[in-house]
Symmetry: C2
Subunit: 424 residues, 2 copies
């Protein structure tokens, strides 16, 4: 079945067949969900040793009683874990609470209210703007939207964001004060930024407005499925360009241990850390150190980070294989969409024919398969081409995922045919 | 020794004697700290069962897997604990992360950036102001200072803030958009607001600007030393006056279980909760639910909140007794200062003669006893009378506290005499 080379009669025939099939499926009363990048219960089980790991010894090796107040930047042993995940020196890491998203919010707020490292607060600019490689992570965009920071779409390519456009915009408009990046196994495309892209991003500080900051959300730094993919170190690259103050890096153990009950990290130059600390000092007496100690013990006494991530990979691999096989078997040479084949991370990004994404999501929903809302991967929820859908294979059991994907590809075919036949 | 009825010669003689004594103590190389309201190791031990309490069962009674993402307002079983601490309905509670200070920061930020419940954002006012009963909690003041919210001192009396002044100011100045209250065992005076005071506070919403909010930091709601002190319920009082949207209540388990690794709560009307949730939704996917579950299990399976707090009380009582005995024995009828005799909470507030607080803190520091910096209990760190010192007896072992208090009363005498003799 190739939608472009088929005759009108064939298309009509196909549409009829698939509609009949779809109707039957709708009667199955399915209730499946492949919306969010949540770890499965099987993955979460890997970290259940966390509770009880302290054996009533709440002190760190250096004698800190983690049960009491204090220590704004987190425990050293927790910061070391962050340093390992981000490949940065431990002195440049703050170990925070349970959410890197929260640390990102704080950081955007810091730039917005106070200005980083002595630079103008963004709220004092005429129209502060962030560059947003798309498709991207909806929660990044929500932060900007809430604070009234304008967002500009930047197309994602195979090597990362379209750097020609990024460089041009940053140079032309001094109100551009940030860019969101998920540099490894990007959410949702699975792209890892190339060495050249990272190099060019590291040079943005040479032409951007002084308060410009790169939000380097390295959420999937250790989430490789098989052979490790190497991401060029942004810190090193900025140091070479004397632009290290332009980068803020984030990571967390949320998709490493227990989602939402892990430890989050921010890493930055001392000037930026000082800005963050000044702000945090009014917000909190310190992070949840007991949980930080648990994580530190877990990754020294119980397992290593690498070994642990290999266990995750072996659970995730078959699920991604399932998704990709469905797409391959049903849609190769059909000209009904394109997709990425990620080697890590949490998502498969699928592009329908232009103007079909909403229709696919609606069809799937009516058949009992919940997909991430079309448009969610774009600022303001507006996908200008209406063609991107984010598939999250991690959470459902393999059997459910298999069923959900059968429905998905059917919906893609049906929506494509109806679009082509102008029936939509 | 009475400083007012003594002759000049007696004063000179006393100063000499005490100076000699002080010099000797300075040679002891003491290193004692009674600065912050931290629980002692003995108190923290009471909650060590928290780690391991889950026995690999991470699900709530209603089946929620606490290890995964989701649930912005926290677990129901955790919200119930907050509802018990604040004596409010569970539906009006959000259970958050490890710090009620952070929730207060979020709430001030909410009013400042967005405005609560549809009211004008405070940043759009000409000069937004908070009323600050003094002496008070330094970290409250730091939040306002960081956001550029002006602070106005309100004198604390035996029944709470001076309500005549509060009412007058709130009525006169529509830029007054908040008041900080620690209504039970107030930090640092130990005062519990009287029924009349709570009633008058509940009526502020009738005359205040529409966006006005009462920050009711009920940090010591269950921290009675002996027979329970009854604080009038602010929620009930505001409901009677149709001003329930004016109150935001806060509490946490930080001084109940492990300090800084507990669960924090905010309680408010649905209109205010909606404002908070809209903001938090951009900040986080949800709070640390595993720790919430631990706390819920701890207070159902292991102990009750009341029983647990009685254990804290029996550890704290002798320490407060020690402080009060030193003050009583050394300073009764000396006219060198006044102090409170709290029946709960974490502090003893001591007022030196005017202009002596800094001198006492300096003398004590030089003798190796660290006190909370003079002025810390006032906005901008400025105690207009330079007379308030906050004593925090909880953390040091009794023996150390005993030594520290001997030094403290000596320093009070010395500073008072030198002031009187105009030697300071």
């Amino acid at each position: 079945m190739h939608i472009e080379s088929a005759t009108q009669e064939q298309l009509i025939e196909w549409e009829k067949e698939l509609s009949a099939h779809y109707k039957k499926i709708c009667q199955h009363g399915l209730n499946l969900d492949i919306t969010r990048g949540k770890p499965s219960a099987e993955q979460l089980n890997l970290s259940d040793k966390l509770d009880g790991i302290l054996s009533s010894d709440y002190r760190t090796a250096d004698g800190t009683d983690t049960r009491n107040y204090g220590g704004l930047v987190g425990l050293n042993c927790a910061r070391e874990l962050g340093a390992e995940m981000l490949q940065v020196p431990v002195e440049e890491v703050i170990a925070g609470g349970n959410s890197s998203l929260t640390l990102m919010y704080y950081a955007v707020l810091n730039g917005y209210l106070f200005g980083f490292a002595g630079n103008t607060a963004w709220r004092e600019l005429k129209a502060p703007k962030f560059l947003c490689p798309v498709p991207g992570y909806d929660r990044h965009f929500t932060i900007c939207e809430q604070l009234g920071i304008e967002m500009i779409n930047i197309p994602m390519g195979a090597n990362g964001p379209d750097m020609d456009t990024v460089e041009k915009l940053v140079q032309e408009d001094s109100d551009i004060i940030g860019i969101w990046c998920v540099p490894k196994f990007s959410n949702p495309t699975g792209t890892t930024y190339s060495k050249e892209t990272v190099g060019r991003i590291a040079q943005l500080g040479l032409v951007a407005s002084p308060g410009f900051r790169i939000f380097w959300d390295n959420a999937y730094s250790v989430h490789d499925f098989g052979h490790p993919i190497n991401l060029t170190n942004i810190r090193t690259a900025t140091l070479e360009n004397d632009t290290a103050d332009c980068v803020l890096q984030f990571a967390s153990t949320s998709k490493v241990t227990h989602a939402g009950s892990g430890v989050a990290f921010v890493s930055a130059s001392q000037a930026n850390l000082n800005s963050l600390k000044a702000q945090m000092q009014a917000m909190t007496i310190g992070p949840e150190k007991v949980n930080q100690l648990r994580h530190s013990r877990f990754f020294t006494e119980y397992t290593s980070l690498n070994e642990h991530m290999r266990k995750h990979a072996s659970i995730l691999r078959p699920k991604f294989k399932c998704v990709l096989e469905h797409l391959h078997n049903a849609l190769t040479d059909a000209a009904m969409g394109t997709w990425e084949k990620p080697e890590g991370g949490y998502f498969v990004s699928f592009n329908t024919l232009p103007g079909c994404a909403k229709a696919v999501v609606k069809l799937a929903a009516d058949a009992g398969v919940k997909l991430t809302p079309a448009g969610a991967t774009f600022p303001y929820g507006e996908d200008p081409e209406d063609n991107n859908i984010r598939i999250a294979p991690s959470f459902p059991p393999l059997e459910e995922l298999d069923t959900a994907m059968s429905v998905f590809v059917l919906c893609v075919k049906l929506a494509s045919l109806r679009k082509k036949l102008d029936m939509a």
